[in-house]
């Protein structure tokens, strides 16, 4: 072992690591462990299903990102009012669905949400905050009603809800983060173009319902 400039140079000895790992592996064999075959079922499938569900449908993805984009366009306080209000109203819609209270035109409402939110972004509409919050909240009920109730059999409802809400909120965050480019001249155009894409996708979703 040599010492240069106050630092020790460690010479690696082949087989030393193996000599350490082998007793450790033996020690593992000496630890008794009882195998528990799925004592708590449904936990992982619940949270994974909840996390995956909002990102498995383009209609939901576009609408959630639009909420973030529009909020970023509107600036404070809308940029935080909309993401605070949306999950609660969406969950209220989900609760209505779970309670068996049906709403008319759920799929139409989801398609129209993409058209309207996209149009708001394209035109850079700046309605009063309460109108923006009401509009977003209105569409949130449709999204919650449609998506909040699709729990796979045998999964935990609570963990599905945690995953679903976290995933939807993350999509809002993605929308807000993308919307930050609105501060730049080129970025402003890009955000409006993204709104046009969302609106066009909404028209496509609506056409698929009727055609």
């Amino acid at each position: 072992m040599q010492e240069r400039n106050g630092t020790k140079k460690i010479r690696r000895v082949p087989g030393r690591a193996a000599g350490t790992l082998f007793p450790a592996a033996l020690a593992l064999l000496l630890v008794p462990a009882t195998v528990f075959a799925h004592q708590e079922t449904g936990s992982i499938t619940g949270i994974v299903s909840g996390l995956k569900h909002p990102v498995s449908g383009m209609d939901h993805i576009l609408a959630m990102i639009s909420v973030g984009l529009w909020g970023a366009q509107l600036g404070p306080p809308a940029v935080w009012v909309l993401p605070v209000a949306f999950p609660m109203v969406m969950a209220f819609g989900g609760m209505l669905g779970l309670m068996g209270i049906s709403l008319p035109g759920i799929e139409i409402g989801i398609a129209v949400s993409a058209i309207v939110l996209g149009a708001m972004i394209v035109t850079e509409s700046r309605p009063p905050l309460w109108i923006a919050a009401t509009l977003v909240g209105f569409f949130a009920i449709f999204h919650g009603h449609a998506h909040g109730t699709e729990l796979p059999a045998g999964s935990s409802g609570l963990l599905y809800s945690i995953g679903f809400v976290a995933s939807t909120g993350t999509l809002h965050g993605v929308g807000i983060a993308l919307g930050l480019v609105h501060a730049f001249r080129g970025g402003r155009l890009a955000v409006r173009a993204a709104g046009a894409v969302v609106s066009a996708a909404g028209v496509f979703f609506l056409a698929r319902i009727f055609v």
């Binding site: 999950p87 609570l158 809400v165 976290a166």
Partner: protein
């Protein structure tokens, strides 16, 4: 001489007892232990019981939004009440887990965080004591059935202390406006989870 009207208190107590009777459900014991002893089983218990974890985090966020003095009060009131509730639950174990009330309690705390309710310190401490006693009572009932002793209950209370202290201290230390907004968004998520969970309970899939 000033007289105190006990009727509202009696009405509230009667309503609470009626709610208890209306929401019976079988106790579910945790079948998997950590293997490190009952104290660590108790420590882990909080983290594998989402309603308990959500109410502890929610109260930490709420206390943090209400300031450092309120946080200090809640950081000691919640674990103490939790332990008292656990001991009461272990002595008088209930045969049901009251999922409706645990859901309402964390959902309500989430709403308070989302609306940035600036509660006075005494009210916040009372809220923490109520939540701690109730969740602790349910913990104590189920932990006895699972074979966890008093040491495990102390472990659960230590976990509650750590979660409430860390979460409230984090929020108190936040200075940026956007960071405080992020805390309120987290509250809205907790409230949303509570609302959805109520729907699942109505459906019988909680």
């Amino acid at each position: 001489m000033r007289t105190i009207d006990h009727r509202p208190l009696a009405l509230a107590g009667g309503s609470f007892l009626a709610a208890l009777c209306l929401a019976p459900e079988e106790a579910h014991a945790h079948l998997v232990q950590t293997g490190f002893g009952t104290f660590y089983d108790g420590v882990v218990h909080l983290f594998i019981t989402p309603p308990d974890l959500l109410v502890a985090i929610g109260l930490g966020l709420l206390a943090g939004l209400c300031g450092a003095a309120a946080s200090r009060g809640v950081a000691f009131a919640l674990p103490a009440a939790w332990l008292a509730g656990e001991l009461a639950g272990s002595i008088f174990p209930a045969s049901f887990t009251l999922p409706w009330l645990t859901t309402v309690s964390f959902g309500a705390v989430g709403v308070l965080v989302a609306v940035n309710a600036n509660l006075p310190r005494p009210l916040l401490v009372v809220l923490a004591c109520g939540a701690g006693l109730f969740h602790g009572f349910v913990n104590g009932s189920t932990m006895v059935a699972a074979g966890t002793d008093r040491l495990g209950m102390i472990g659960a209370s230590v976990s509650v202390f750590l979660v409430i202290t860390l979460s409230s201290a984090l929020v108190v230390s936040l200075r940026a406006h956007w960071a405080q907004i992020a805390v309120r968004v987290a509250g809205s998520w907790i409230a949303a989870i509570g609302l959805l969970m109520l729907g699942w309970l109505v459906r019988g899939q909680g």
